[in-house]
């Protein structure tokens, strides 16, 4: 499943003669570089390689007939372990609330509507709430996208996202929707005022899922973004978007490592069906190139 660069690097381990712990360490430095090139955070890559090294310099590997194959297997398995098992959406309450947060332009609004489609296919009755009162035409974007796909959307215009969220909650209880999806404004993890708004929305609507939407091409900064959103607001899961391109997606590893929260979905296009459930093996192969 892993072709190309990483296999080449690891095959090279055994080439210069007997494999020693020192030779393995040298070779793993190359693996670390490949991870950084795949946008895995420098620190996360360092710690990951330490974990791999602990096992890769063991007697079992060094004395085996195919040590480089074993090391490749260790890297792949440790990556899958780190990325975590897939976990379903928590939809235990009625109504269940999902709140999307993340940086500007990550893909929240598009993902909100994709989630509505996903839930409808599962026999649920979702309601979309445009709680972004900041971005020009944000309301029109969500409303039009929702209506085009036949999903109900909260259409009352208000200039305060917290009050809007409360009003939407009231209306949805009356109309018996079983899943509420709150789309929020893009915000920086260092913008105190906007982080405060997100916290207040969360306190008002009590979501069972707060999903951090992260652009799949995010680089080293993924660690800062994820850590701040999780510590300040508290997230329950992650959605990686724009994975239909050729980004390696190392940000996935960084986000998962630093928050411990599950990756739930991958956005793989601009259309409503373009939402995939997270499969660790596939993402591991992609990051490892």
């Amino acid at each position: 499943q892993i072709s190309g660069r990483l296999q080449k690097i690891i095959r090279n381990f055994g080439k210069k003669g007997r494999l020693t712990p020192e030779r393995v360490r040298e070779g793993l430095k190359e693996v670390r570089r490949a991870l950084i090139e795949a946008d895995v955070n420098v620190e996360v890559a360092r710690e990951f390689i330490k974990m791999v090294e602990a096992e890769a310099i063991g007697e079992k590997v060094l004395k085996s007939f195919t040590p480089s194959e074993m090391i490749l297997k260790i890297v792949y398995e440790k990556m899958i372990e780190l990325l975590g098992r897939p976990e379903p959406l928590r939809l235990d309450k009625t109504p269940s609330v999902i709140m999307l947060v993340g940086l500007q332009g990550a893909g929240k609004t598009t993902t909100a509507v994709k989630l509505a489609g996903f839930l409808k296919k599962k026999g649920r009755n979702p309601f979309l709430i445009p709680a972004d009162v900041k971005r020009p035409a944000a309301f029109e974007q969500l409303r039009d996208l929702a209506e085009r796909n036949g999903f109900p959307v909260f259409t009352k215009r208000m200039d305060n996202a917290v009050r809007l969220s409360k009003a939407a909650l009231t209306q949805s209880v009356l109309k018996r929707y079983d899943t509420l999806i709150f789309d929020t404004a893009g915000r920086l993890h260092i913008d105190e005022e906007m982080i405060d708004e997100a916290i207040k929305i969360k306190e008002s609507v009590k979501p069972s899922e707060v999903l951090l939407v992260v652009d799949g091409m995010t680089g080293q900064d993924a660690v800062n973004i994820a850590k701040e959103f999780d510590q300040k607001i508290g997230i329950t899961g992650v959605i990686l978007t724009k994975m239909d391109g050729d980004t390696r997606g190392g940000a996935a590893m960084s986000v998962r490592k630093v928050t411990g929260k599950p990756i739930k979905f991958l956005g793989v296009g601009e259309k409503m069906d373009d939402l995939e459930e997270f499969v660790p093996e596939r993402l591991a192969s992609r990051i490892l190139g």
Partner: protein
């Protein structure tokens, strides 16, 4: 002679970490580290700054015949529409007349979004219906720019991943359409890059440049914690000038690129 041979591996490693953490990438970081090994450790930071300034100083041809047509391109969500609004206002403050062309006829809400920015910038706007051919809108916008005697025409396009050949061909057609109108058009083709982007930005520039021939870069979202260091391998490889930096979501959150300030932030 023995002075030159002295290295400070700990300091080199610290510098390497700063550069890599800033998204400069393995290859370009290694280039800098190798260059630093050629000087005395006391001179590392000074030499690094020199190299960075040198690398980021790319000349830019900024004299064009009006109307100057700026075609904004880039992948999804990087800040193209917002940047056009801000640059429109920037030009208006310089007493230029500005026209916007809403050539993103695909994404929901795109035209409404650009219209709001046109009002903020004091610019006129040419748009069509959702689903119209973007090349046709560009064609009409240029005619309008000429007939209204406008100084600058800023064209918004739909976000598109560089890996989608159909969409890249649509973009090439927008360019060809303008080029057929007048052979110097569009005078500027600017790729908008999000500062939080990692090494994938290099592929983005590679493909957009191959397909269209880019004339410059706008780097957005520099108000976050990302350093935007990926522009170093980009500038090094494609020799493109960074023209503007986006520093927020408000109309005046745009600045002309200043290499020294960028480098200060990168090394801080």
């Amino acid at each position: 002679a023995s002075m030159l041979r002295r290295k400070d591996p700990a300091l080199l490693e610290e510098i390497e970490d700063i550069l890599l953490s800033g998204d400069v990438g393995i290859e370009t970081t290694e280039f800098f580290i190798e260059e630093l090994k050629k000087v005395h450790p006391d001179k590392y930071l000074e030499r690094l700054r020199e190299l960075l300034v040198e690398m980021l100083s790319v000349p830019h041809e900024s004299v064009h015949n009006p109307p100057v047509v700026y075609l904004f391109v880039g992948v999804n969500g990087v800040g193209k529409t917002t940047t056009i609004g801000k640059i429109g206002l920037y030009f208006r403050k310089k007493k230029k007349s500005v026209l916007f062309a809403a050539c993103d006829t695909f994404r929901t809400g795109a035209q409404e979004q650009l219209k709001i920015w046109a009002d903020r910038a004091g610019a006129d706007i040419v748009s069509s219906q959702y689903g119209a051919d973007p090349s046709a809108v560009a064609f009409d916008a240029f005619d309008a720019a000429v007939s209204r005697g406008v100084d600058c025409l800023l064209i918004d396009t739909a976000g598109r991943l560089h890996t989608k050949t159909g969409l890249m061909e649509e973009m090439a057609k927008i360019k060809r359409t303008l080029n057929k109108k007048r052979e110097d058009l569009p005078q500027e083709i600017l790729i908008v890059i999000d500062a939080t982007t990692g090494q994938n930005a290099i592929h983005q520039v590679e493909i957009f440049n191959e397909k269209l021939g880019l004339t410059g870069i706008v780097l957005t979202k520099m108000d976050g914690t990302a350093k935007g260091g990926v522009i170093l391998p980009i500038v090094r490889r494609f020799n493109l000038p960074v023209l503007f930096i986006g520093t927020g979501e408000a109309p005046d959150d745009i600045e002309e690129f200043n290499p020294e300030e960028f480098i200060d932030a990168l090394l801080s």
